[in-house]
């Protein structure tokens, strides 16, 4: 007892003396911090050293190849004072050991890591957990050391390692020690212009080949909205574990697409679907259907409308679809459950329907890479004669003849017994999403009044329907009004008419009457008209953008406004036309006089649903003109 007591006292005193004395950053660290800030103006923290050691083991009991990833990182503060969270995720297939964070001078001791259930707005439930803590840097140049070991119980779940980070890194090193018994391929992705050195060493004694990747001065990950998925642009290593012969016998892991398919299939074979549970319902849906297409639609739309999407990512449930009768009964499911129910219902209707794996647009890979990182979604494919229908029941208000942007042009892996079919989802053109705004306006005092008609197709329509259908019925009128005018008190809307908001096949149209105050300014004998109400993309300046800007879909909007010239007035000045056209976007503003009308036409067209990195500069300079254009007024003068 006595001893422990003395020790404790000593420890406390020791600590305090230590901390009083030594927690100042060294002058070299302060200098380093200043230099780093010069080249990373937007960053508050940098990683001066990031070392990752990847090694492999074998779990005899479960006969699995295991992976250990050791991470050591040293952080430095570039600001006068900062605080950042550091966190590590793990789940049922992985564990974290030896997690440690302490300031480099040790004055605060080892920090306590919280261990929490990871909650995410998009996922209802996941087995993911997070260990996290805050690093508080009291001074410029203060440093922290952060390290941990993450172990994957099965190499299948270990897929990649990124070379960059949320913070800029001065020195980055990754070593991968591959034992002779393991056949693993390392893919180097998005290495483009980075100067990365790679060495290979063989340890005869241990029979281990070690690959070392090193690089210096990597900028922080551009953490912005509307980014492509990280696999599209961030440098990383993708690990493809093909086979091993740990026990003298060659065991295949995921050597090729067939192996991946076989594993997925083995999971699907474990499902015990009992379609009887929803047979009656399915047949009742088909009752009035005459053609095959009508039948497919009836089922597809029913699942879209009646099964709520609730995502679960829980261990193997992250890969194995839920049984169709469960999804039917619960009226909710994740993409796999919904795809499976769609398939089973279609089978009742006599169709050849199949589960289909797909990596959405978020993922850059295709099925040439045998890894679980290649896909993140499941849909259902119907093969009807020569025609394939791809049904994504999670896409609410999507019509049968349209595939959502996020799955267009993506490779699919379709079940086909022992084999599989690889195919590609067709690409839709932007014209299929056309949104039209037509206004017939005239000037009354200083107000713009008239009728507006708007039409929506494709994804502009499904986006509109989704937002309207999820609003409280008693507020729908108000909500449509809000959709039209926001909270602008100057605009009065009346007589709103909208076509059937449950119909996803026809075009959607919305008409209303508008009375917009303060849109016209009268000075002396002149009227100044601000013709464009919405001024789309006015604020999208992409000022610091470094990577592609992704739009939700291929936006194509056309605006036509006819403005009646009031009696006794003539046009004094019309704004000049403005146009731009390149591979990603085509935008035009046109003003014409026809009879007693001014015809204003605007067309905004993003044919690839993005502004790619190469066009950012062009967007920036054009955007300046757009901003000016939106400020320009039509001038009418009396007499």
């Amino acid at each position: 007892m006595g001893k422990i007591f003395t020790l404790t006292i000593f420890f406390i005193i020791g600590c305090s003396v230590y901390s009083q004395k030594k927690n100042n950053p060294l002058s070299t660290d302060i200098q380093l911090s200043k230099t780093l800030k010069e080249s990373n103006k937007d960053d508050d923290i940098a990683i001066i050293q990031s070392i990752e050691e990847i090694s492999f083991g074998y779990d005899k009991k479960n006969k699995n190849v295991t992976v250990t990833q050791k991470i050591k990182q040293d952080y430095i503060n570039l600001e006068s004072r900062s605080s950042i969270p550091v966190f590590v995720f793990y789940d049922d297939q992985s564990s974290i050991k030896k997690i440690k964070a302490k300031s480099l001078k040790g004055e605060f001791g080892n920090l306590y890591f919280k261990d929490e259930y990871y909650s995410n707005n998009e996922l209802f439930h996941t087995d993911a957990r997070v260990k996290w803590t805050n690093l508080n840097f009291p001074l410029q140049g203060s440093k922290y050391h952060f390290s941990y070991e993450k172990k994957y119980n099965d190499i299948k779940y270990f897929v990649s390692s990124y070379l960059d980070d949320k913070y800029p890194i001065t020195k980055r090193k990754i070593t991968i020690a591959i034992p002779d018994w393991l056949n693993i391929e390392i893919k180097e992705i998005n290495f483009n212009k980075l100067s990365i050195s790679k060495t290979k060493d063989y340890d005869e004694k241990e029979k281990i080949t070690t690959y070392t990747y090193s690089l210096d001065n990597i900028g922080s990950v551009a953490d912005k909205e509307n980014t492509p998925g990280p696999t599209h642009y961030r440098p990383h290593l993708l690990f493809l574990a093909k086979s091993h012969n740990k026990n003298e016998e060659e065991i295949t892991l995921l050597n090729n697409t067939s192996d991946l398919y076989n594993w997925y299939r083995s999971l699907v074979e474990q499902i015990n679907d009992t379609p009887e549970a929803f047979k009656e319902k399915t047949l009742s849906l088909l009752k009035d259907c005459k053609t095959d297409e009508e039948k497919i639609k009836a089922i597809y739309y029913w699942v879209q409308d009646n099964i709520r999407y609730i995502a679960f990512e829980d261990g193997i449930a992250g890969f194995k679809p839920d049984e169709a009768q469960n999804v039917y009964k619960k009226k909710y499911g994740d993409c796999k459950g919904m795809a499976n129910l769609t398939k089973q219902m279609l089978k009742i209707a006599g169709f050849d329907a199949r589960l289909t794996w797909i990596g959405t647009k978020h993922i850059a890979y295709d099925y040439s890479l045998p890894t679980i990182a290649v896909d993140n979604h499941m849909i259902c494919t119907v093969i009807n004669g020569d025609k394939k229908y791809y049904l994504d029941s999670t896409e609410k208000y999507n019509s049968l003849d349209y595939n959502a942007e996020r799955i267009q042009n993506k490779q699919v892996l379709i079940e086909n017994g022992d084999e599989f079919i690889l195919d590609k989802i067709p690409l839709h053109k932007s014209i299929e999403n056309l949104e039209i705004f037509e206004g017939n306006l005239k000037i009354n005092n200083e107000q713009l009044i008239g009728e507006v008609s708007r039409k929506y197709k494709g994804e502009s329509k499904s986006h509109f329907l989704y937002s309207i259908n999820n609003l409280k019925t008693d507020r729908r009128e108000q909500v449509l009004e809000r959709y039209i005018k926001g909270d602008d008190k100057n605009v009065l809307i009346s007589n709103i008419q909208v076509t059937d908001i449950t119909d996803r096949d026809g075009d959607l149209s919305l008409t209303y009457e508008i009375d917009q105050k303060n849109a016209v300014s009268a000075f002396d004998n002149e009227l100044y008209v601000d013709i464009d109400y919405y001024k789309e993309y006015k604020s999208l300046d992409l000022e610091k953008r470094k990577i592609d800007y992704i739009l939700p879909y291929k936006v194509f909007e056309k605006t036509h406004i006819d403005l009646e010239i009031p009696l006794g007035y003539t046009i004094k000045e019309l704004p000049t036309d403005l146009n731009i056209k390149n591979n990603d976007f085509e935008i035009s503003f046109q003003y014409k006089k026809e009879g007693n009308k001014i015809k204003y036409s605007k067309s905004i067209h993003f044919s690839n649903a993005k502004i790619s990195k190469g066009q950012i500069e062009s967007w920036r300079s054009f955007h300046k003109n757009v901003k000016e254009q939106y400020q320009k007024q039509i001038i009418l003068s009396k007499g």
Partner: protein, 741 residues
């Protein structure tokens, strides 16, 4: 016939069963709870039709039932709360809303334990009933065991489990019938005051049938009252029933949506209640509540006499600290000056002088026990009554007459409706030649300032005997309401254009007083702005001076880093404030405090802002420019068409006024047109908006004055209010033309 007999038998049996199991205790097992709620006695076995008039509502609450049962055991209170709702889901939004539930179960060892059970049934439009297997469907999402510190004891471990539930089988048109039943155990010796419940009868959805039941054992006291036409509590205790039982029922309740300028508890039917547990006489006295004479009497209000009786000696009047005596020892002040100076001295001595120590502590500026450098118990003054006691003691010692004033916040109703003790607000009225009120201190509280939420409310004034031994008389008074002219903000802006008319430079000097000042000071002043002047005034030492050489060096370094970051963030925050007020972006923002003004409520707090406006307010029109000059007075209240019809009275924060003077230098080579539209004038009994524009040489000067005369307007004045609100909104939309010569 056979069937009928069967029914009566099955009914008879469960009643006996219920009596035996639940007669004196509430169920604590899932299956018993289920039986208790959905068993044979359930009056909602058959669900009634919903009324036609609500067919377009998103959802209709068919039955809203809340039961509270308060029991005691040897060392704890075992309380049970039931919420049961039967809701018809008319649209997808409603289905979404009720498709996921979260509910907690947690334990704080030795303090509190809560367990929760849920039951859910779905009734399909065809009448088919599906019960959800909650135990099977629920997902536990526990966090790890967090360690809670109680003083130096680390052994109290809180375990905490949140259950998540995605409701299966739910579709539009369904009726969901769910209950959340929780058991709460509180450890207590002899008394415990439950959190009060103060709510309106109306909710987000219309309600067909509302039932609230309270059941208590002896030693539980009920304070309950209904307001604004809400039904009264009925005693439904049966003869010979051991526990007392009460209920409140209401039918056919329309929904209420959120609205600007409303105090729901004062305007809509509402009820409030609080349950207290107090064992015997002595515990009853020490319970922080107004208890009725006996447990079986429900307390509905608190009379003037009771207040006087309860607060015979409401605060201790003999605490005058040495430091305070020493500070005032040789000062020559009149009684009024002394009372005022003492208030400000205490504000510094008990509160503001600790700020640097608090910053050092909270921001880890590595200083061991920063508070040890001050007299030990001083910081506890953050409790209101401790201040009142010290201030009143000082007044008493210096023979300055005063009284204690008790009131409530305006949103909580008048003193006639007093029910819950913690809703009381305390002030001291100092009866010097010119009497003034003193409210418990905070960083910037001032003599004569009464929080706007108390202004104009009625109050009880407790007057002492001559020796200030006991309170002797009580009187009903009304607290004064400040004038709109005293709650004023005056902003003077100088506007110049860049040579190419692409941007605008603004220099804006703002003067605020009254309540407007209090909110601006809280938003803009940091301790770095006012602490040095306070320290100088009262001769207290900056925190750093308490530290020894080494610690001082360390602290200075860390503190400087903290200040650098803090100042930078503060400036960004102020820039955002200005942007929010205007509704557009500003650039190159600078902010400067000109006068802190923290000693006289009606003195101006003054600051200047400098910024440029680049992408807003100017529109090109040929060779001319349209300048949205109206927007320079900031965003104005915009009442949309649908809100122009109003049935409710209007409850605002306080009477207030806003003045603007905008001086615009017309750019060379331009003239202006359109200034006639800038002259508006609306004045009525509720307030007004007046604007004038004049041009002299190359300067356009615009003045505006907007004022709200009162903090409350009856609904009949709404149209008058709209008149000046519309005028000020219209002004904010006005533009002038910069015309090329």
């Amino acid at each position: 016939m056979k069937n009928k007999n069967m029914k009566s038998i099955t009914l008879f049996f469960p009643i006996l069963f219920l009596m035996s199991v639940f007669g004196y205790s509430q169920p604590k097992k899932a299956e018993d709870i289920r039986e208790f709620i959905w068993g044979e006695n359930d009056t909602y076995k058959a669900i009634p039709e919903t009324p036609q008039k609500w067919k377009n509502e998103s959802a209709i609450v068919i039955f809203d039932n809340q039961n509270h049962y308060y029991n005691k055991s040897k060392k704890s209170l075992d309380n049970f709360f039931l919420t049961r709702r039967i809701i018809k889901l008319n649209d997808k939004a409603a289905v979404e809303r009720f498709s996921e539930f979260n509910y907690p179960t947690f334990v704080i060892d030795g303090i509190k334990e809560i367990k929760t059970w849920m039951g859910i049934k779905i009734i399909k439009p065809n009448g088919e009933v599906k019960e959800i297997d909650v135990e099977k469907e629920k997902i536990k999402t526990s966090t790890d065991k967090a360690v809670y510190y109680y003083g130096f004891i680390k052994s109290k471990v809180k375990s905490d489990q949140i259950y998540k539930l995605a409701i299966p089988q739910l579709e539009t048109g369904d009726i969901i019938d769910f209950y959340i039943y929780s058991y709460e155990e509180y450890k207590t010796d002899g008394n415990y005051v439950m959190d009060p419940i103060e709510t309106t009868l109306n909710g987000e959805y219309p309600i067909m049938d509302f039932l609230l039941k309270l059941k208590v054992e002896n030693d539980f006291f009920i304070n309950f009252n209904s307001y604004n036409g809400a039904p009264n509590l009925e005693d439904i205790t049966k003869p010979k029933q051991r526990d007392k039982e009460y209920q409140i029922t209401a039918k056919n309740i329309e929904k209420k949506e959120s609205l600007q300028w409303i105090y729901p508890l004062v305007e809509y039917p509402a009820y409030k209640f609080q349950i207290c547990f107090a064992k015997s006489g002595s515990y009853e006295k020490s319970t922080f509540a107004f208890l009725s004479e006996k447990e079986d009497i429900v307390k509905k209000n608190v009379s003037q006499d009771e207040i006087l009786k309860k607060f015979k000696s409401p605060i201790s009047l003999d605490i005058v600290e040495k430091n305070i005596k020493r500070y005032f020892k040789d000062k020559q002040y009149s009684k009024e000056e002394l009372a005022k100076e003492a208030y400000y001295y205490m504000r510094h001595f008990y509160f503001n002088q600790y700020i640097e120590a608090a910053v050092a502590d909270n921001k880890n500026l590595v200083v061991w026990s920063p508070y040890e450098h001050y007299s030990a118990n001083a910081v506890v003054i953050t409790y209101n009554h401790k201040f009142l006691s010290r201030y009143a003691s000082f007044l008493k010692k210096n023979k300055i007459p005063f009284e204690i004033v008790l009131t409530k916040k305006r949103y909580d109703g008048t003193m006639n409706d007093l029910l819950i003790r913690k809703n009381l607000e305390w002030l001291i009225k100092v009866n010097t030649t010119t009497p003034f009120y003193a409210f418990p201190i905070d960083n910037h509280t001032m003599i004569g300032w009464i929080p706007s939420l108390l202004e104009g409310n009625d109050a009880y004034s407790l007057k002492y005997d001559k020796k200030y031994f006991r309170t002797e008389t009580i009187e009903k008074v009304t607290l004064p309401v400040s004038l709109h002219s005293n709650n004023n903000s005056t902003e003077i802006s100088s506007i110049t254009f860049s040579d190419d008319i692409s941007s605008i430079q603004v220099e804006k000097k703002s003067h605020h007083k009254g309540h407007n000042k209090i909110s601006e000071i809280n938003r803009r002043l940091t301790y770095l702005d006012y602490l040095p002047e306070e320290r100088k005034k009262y001769g207290t030492a900056p925190f750093i001076e308490f530290l020894k050489k080494k610690a001082r060096k360390k602290y200075e370094e860390l503190n400087n880093a903290y200040i650098a970051k803090f100042t930078k963030e503060k400036l960004e925050q102020l820039e955002e404030t200005t942007e929010t007020e205007y509704g557009f972006e500003v650039d190159d923002y600078k902010h400067q405090i000109d006068k802190t003004s923290r000693y006289e409520i009606n003195d101006d707090f003054v600051f200047t802002e400098y910024y440029s406006i680049k992408n807003s307010l100017i529109k090109k029109a040929g060779s001319n420019y349209i300048f949205e000059v109206g927007k320079l007075i900031g965003s104005q209240v915009a009442i949309e068409e649908k809100d122009k019809k109003r049935a409710e009275n209007i409850y605002m924060s306080y009477p207030r006024s806003y003045n603007n003077e905008i001086r615009i230098t017309i750019p060379k080579g331009y003239t202006i047109a359109g200034i006639d539209k800038l002259n508006l004038k609306v004045k009525n009994e509720t307030g007004g908006f007046v604007s004038e524009a004049s041009l002299k040489d190359n300067t356009l000067t615009i003045t505006t004055n907007k004022y709200y005369k009162n903090n409350y307007e009856p609904n009949s004045n709404w149209d008058s209010m709209l008149e000046f609100l519309e005028a000020s909104y219209q002004f904010s939309q006005e533009k002038i033309l910069l015309k090329k010569r």
